[in-house]
Symmetry: C2
Subunit: 150 residues, 2 copies
């Protein structure tokens, strides 16, 4: 049984490698690094996402998060606004250009993945999707347990 599980881990690691930072030959997402792209996606999902929240979501320190948002802002994909509720926190928001770049990159990836998956029966694709969804849920549950500990 342990062997089975460690196989799964190794496969997850391979996949993580491929779809993570090292799977790209050149630039990953237009003029964004993967880190920046992930941050932008998080920002896009939320109304008023603070710097620290970004850091927590992506496992960065707050100064790391500051730097990432700096870069996104310089590229014109995000903006900082002071929160009206609490003058200390920054509400980070996507710009129109930010939204555009996300959809552009997503489109690109979809084509890529579609090509990769073509030839599989739809039913097989569905089962992959199911499996991934289960994994995501497990990850999220586990993350919420971790944050309870703190």
């Amino acid at each position: 049984m342990g062997k089975n599980i460690s196989d799964i881990y190794n496969m997850l690691q391979e996949i993580a490698w491929h779809f993570g930072n090292h799977g790209f030959d050149e630039e990953c997402c237009e003029d964004l690094s993967l880190v920046e792209f992930m941050a932008l996606k998080k920002v896009c999902d939320n109304k008023c996402f603070s710097i620290q929240e970004i850091g927590n979501a992506l496992n960065f320190t707050k100064s790391g998060a500051t730097r990432i948002i700096d870069r996104l802002e310089n590229k014109g994909y995000a903006i900082r606004e002071r929160s009206p509720v609490d003058g200390r926190v920054c509400c980070v928001a996507v710009t129109a250009e930010g939204k555009l770049v996300i959809s552009k990159v997503t489109e690109q990836y979809t084509v890529y993945l579609e090509d990769m998956l073509k030839g599989l029966e739809p039913q097989k694709i569905e089962s992959i999707k199911d499996a991934l969804k289960t994994m995501i849920e497990l990850i999220q549950r586990q993350e919420s347990i971790q944050s309870d500990d703190e």
Copy 2:
């Protein structure tokens, strides 16, 4: 359909994030970075793995690969030997300590994943394994296509 595929991509990216470099709170694998660990695993799988092959396998330049092997050698997990067949190439090999650290880390991960997956029916786990295996095969096929292009 496109929506379905882009969902899959987003999930893959989430998973890649979690099991990749940014999913760790602290050190990832004993005293190794993820990159070093991946390289060590590759080395371990092959008898006489050259520096360039490591670079290709992990998407690094040859000088990057040199640096990674430097680190592994300094930590005592790998050794360089000149190939007897071709005096230019380095055969990188794992040391006993290298093997030890791999099995130690693998053990650790297995426990972690086992805990994460407990509660799922064995049948569900099997279907996850299947899905991952399919993904890996697709990745490998696609990589071999890429290397044909060059």
